[in-house]
Symmetry: C3
Subunit: 397 residues, 3 copies
Amino acid sequence: MRQEHFQTTIKQLKKLKIGTFNKDFLLTWEQTDDEIKAVVLVAELFKEMHKAGLSFRAFDTGLAISIFRDKSTRTRFSFASAMNALGLGLSELDEEKSQIAHGETVRETANMISFLTEVIGIRDDMFLGEGNKYMREVGAAVQEGFEKGVLHRRPSIVNLQCDIDHPTQSLTDLMQLKKHFGSLEHLHGRKIGVTWAYSPSYGKPLSVPQGIIGLMTRFGMNVSVAYPKGYDLIPDVIKVAKKNASQHGGSFKVVDSTEEAFEKADVVYPKSWAPYQVMQQRTELLSKNDRSGLVELEKACLVNNARYKDWECDERKMKLTTKGRGLYMHCLPADISGVSCEQGEVSKGVFEKYRLATYAEAGFKPFVIAAIIFLTRIQKPVDALHAIIRRNTSRTV
Amino acid sequence: MRQEHFQTTIKQLKKLKIGTFNKDFLLTWEQTDDEIKAVVLVAELFKEMHKAGLSFRAFDTGLAISIFRDKSTRTRFSFASAMNALGLGLSELDEEKSQIAHGETVRETANMISFLTEVIGIRDDMFLGEGNKYMREVGAAVQEGFEKGVLHRRPSIVNLQCDIDHPTQSLTDLMQLKKHFGSLEHLHGRKIGVTWAYSPSYGKPLSVPQGIIGLMTRFGMNVSVAYPKGYDLIPDVIKVAKKNASQHGGSFKVVDSTEEAFEKADVVYPKSWAPYQVMQQRTELLSKNDRSGLVELEKACLVNNARYKDWECDERKMKLTTKGRGLYMHCLPADISGVSCEQGEVSKGVFEKYRLATYAEAGFKPFVIAAIIFLTRIQKPVDALHAIIRRNTSRTV
Amino acid sequence: MRQEHFQTTIKQLKKLKIGTFNKDFLLTWEQTDDEIKAVVLVAELFKEMHKAGLSFRAFDTGLAISIFRDKSTRTRFSFASAMNALGLGLSELDEEKSQIAHGETVRETANMISFLTEVIGIRDDMFLGEGNKYMREVGAAVQEGFEKGVLHRRPSIVNLQCDIDHPTQSLTDLMQLKKHFGSLEHLHGRKIGVTWAYSPSYGKPLSVPQGIIGLMTRFGMNVSVAYPKGYDLIPDVIKVAKKNASQHGGSFKVVDSTEEAFEKADVVYPKSWAPYQVMQQRTELLSKNDRSGLVELEKACLVNNARYKDWECDERKMKLTTKGRGLYMHCLPADISGVSCEQGEVSKGVFEKYRLATYAEAGFKPFVIAAIIFLTRIQKPVDALHAIIRRNTSRTV
């Protein structure tokens, strides 16, 4: 019965054209529709196998490296869990402990850590124009190393959040939507409201909302984004979202208020972020090491944020969604008014109502990451999955 | 021959009623006698298998997480060793690296790190009234997550030392006593003197002596505790010890001097701790962030400690023990007079005489931890052990 | 075909007398010629198996511990990779996190971390007269623990760089030379110029040049060392190099200039180091905690360094090597003039020409470390390798 269910997934996978082997996974919009669907299917399969107490180990040995240039709990543990489940050992490159902070070039270090490495997961989301660039530098370095015979295998670089996209998050969210609506096809015509929300903190990355609008527009959804004046997203990503919408039969628009975005929305994603231009200024000030400029910028930005304290997701606004029962989503942790801060992104009542739903949403991430690693590292993924399913190994003795 | 020996252990295990599956392991006195005996038997079996070069791996994959809110060497490495031997991958939740220090609720984090997690080991022993409470919060959070479908499996929380008990230590000590006297039954009627000892440091947790008196009173031992005026242990644990003693045919009393506790003792456990009331004050001051109050308290406490410099375990006092050859025990590291400090818990001569015995005592800990994990995670532990023994896998190629 | 090639290596190994089991690996000159050759052969075999996508896992479970008392990227990741490939779990002993920094004796800690441990890798290269001594203390402690029944197995201590030698680096370099010249026999009569090079930093360990002259003199090479007045190496190591040279038909001499050392050299190894006497002074000042003395010493040392800015490996000097095409080697990271510093050890042009060669050189290290662990931990290494090859396990599903 269970085996039959697994075989159905295998059949669906066989129909897809998957060209992810030995490649990096940096932006969802660099992946074909088939590849996105393959990630979702493999992640689902892994999740079901885990639930059934079965192993989906795919490696005898091999190393996974993570580089976290920003704090992380859930992505860190999702990555660790995924690597462990696949059979890889995990080593974190802590830039303070290593010599990388002492003038060593990215190019050299990338090769030095990669001799027996299958995958390098990177979070670098702090500086606009920097994070994704850094990932590509690492990718180019290991590509050269592989081509010139330094490395036996070319590890894949996986984006664990950069300045532009947060693909493991948006794919996690996509799985939540698929589960909620029953299938990816059922996303067609559904409205999602992605709205800026007030937060007492400053400088939150833009990659979460950008990831959502760049991915959900590929499934025929009607995506409405709302933010206060000045809180723009990166123009290039807006272009991607528009293009996707026009190609996939959905729509993409920027509106002026949470209310407009929530109106008859099936899903809402209220989340704070810093204005694009502020992030640009910050990167400049940081590169000049202009400490007082940075303090000024933060002060100005917080004052500006405070003008939009009413951009909170509360019960009143939730009533505007379809039948007042739209799905609330968040990548966590949320700034919850009266819980984690005085005033924040979401009211206590709304959050509590959807709290377990957001936990369940997060629960897809380890499997999304495992699926991405699997698809970038295993040359014939469908055959390999077949072997894993047939093997039918229990996770415990 | 070896296999026969293993089978004897299996037979003994079969007689026990074990209800530890999917539960937490927080206080020894929350476990039945059978469960305590099961931990000891499984730990012995694992230790013998390790000595014989055999694997007792029980997991194909799976994650173990440790949260150390206080320094640790031996428990940290015991946990790491145990997890590795069982086949689990280890991830440490470093609260500085993660976002947990930034207002994220325990409830949320507990679920976020647990999607593929089998066990969460926690050390939180610094603040009276806090450590054990925190462990129960984490346990309640994953329980909710499991019941509401967020988690496929509910990880077990294992107490790696809290403010109340240090179960992996007291069980380690129990194994040392079993080895020393030949069987658990032979502990009956034996006297153990648990005595406060002078230390130049301040604020050592109470959980080690509390763990000892809470556990050894269950084996019919005569437990004498001695400490200077004011160095009380938590009243509730004293109650547990008294009740245990009356139920198991031993005795429990608080006496006034090391000499009285050592008199005809078969075992002595001289160890420093902070007074219960001082620890309470400290927790209060810390919660108010009263820095100067804390400095004052430490000063006052050290002055008070210094009045009891003669509470040292030395040759003269050891002569009072049965035939002058009572067993000296310590959880390590000890404050050794003239070695690790000017004056401390134990004289150089006494410690050196028992040094290797204390090392051997510590050597039970990885196996105790492995046994606890095994019994909380494996639904049919006896069948599984049977399979592991029959498998007879060498640890090396 | 591939299996045949592996069998050739096995045949070569069978001819060697290998007595490394259960021993430490601290200085190459404490190992016999056969043992050095065995490390090279096993490392080559592992590298070929990795390239072929095959597993050389040798452990079911077991722990490897690393202690890094100095920064490290490439050795850290080489060690992590090697442990993972062999099937060992890795735990780093971070002396800040543990209680080791708080007066606990090395003897005790060494045992406390070793109950299920196969290998302890140590980097301790900062203080002359201290690093290697510390490794031996750890070795003596686990030896005592093993003999007195505290430990079931005696873990091997592996030197990951000390004040005297850097064996995993010099063996890595030896593999690069073997590959470059076709065989170890072809090293005979080849000239290698090991030269001091200018660096804007201070206090680089002497162990890299010392490791090279202590090892390469055993293969009949003609080793020339050049350094400015006062930049002496440890006299005992110089003696080792002289003795090796006289026994193995090569030569060893100290010359006065890079030019002389590079003249008709087949290989050059230009690398900065601190003068022996300065390192001795530094250790003394540090033990007295003489902060101002240390500042003075660094200042004086940097001023002195600056007198030798022309000790750079540049195109002009490289022309002096055999046919102007001598092999440039470096342990990385190099101080590259105009790249990682204003002026440094090597010109930009020379480094870029050999950059990928130095990367490939570094690529031997994980396999060297794996080979050392294998040979110190597996009692019958040739039989075990036979089993691993016959097993023919793919690294991926």
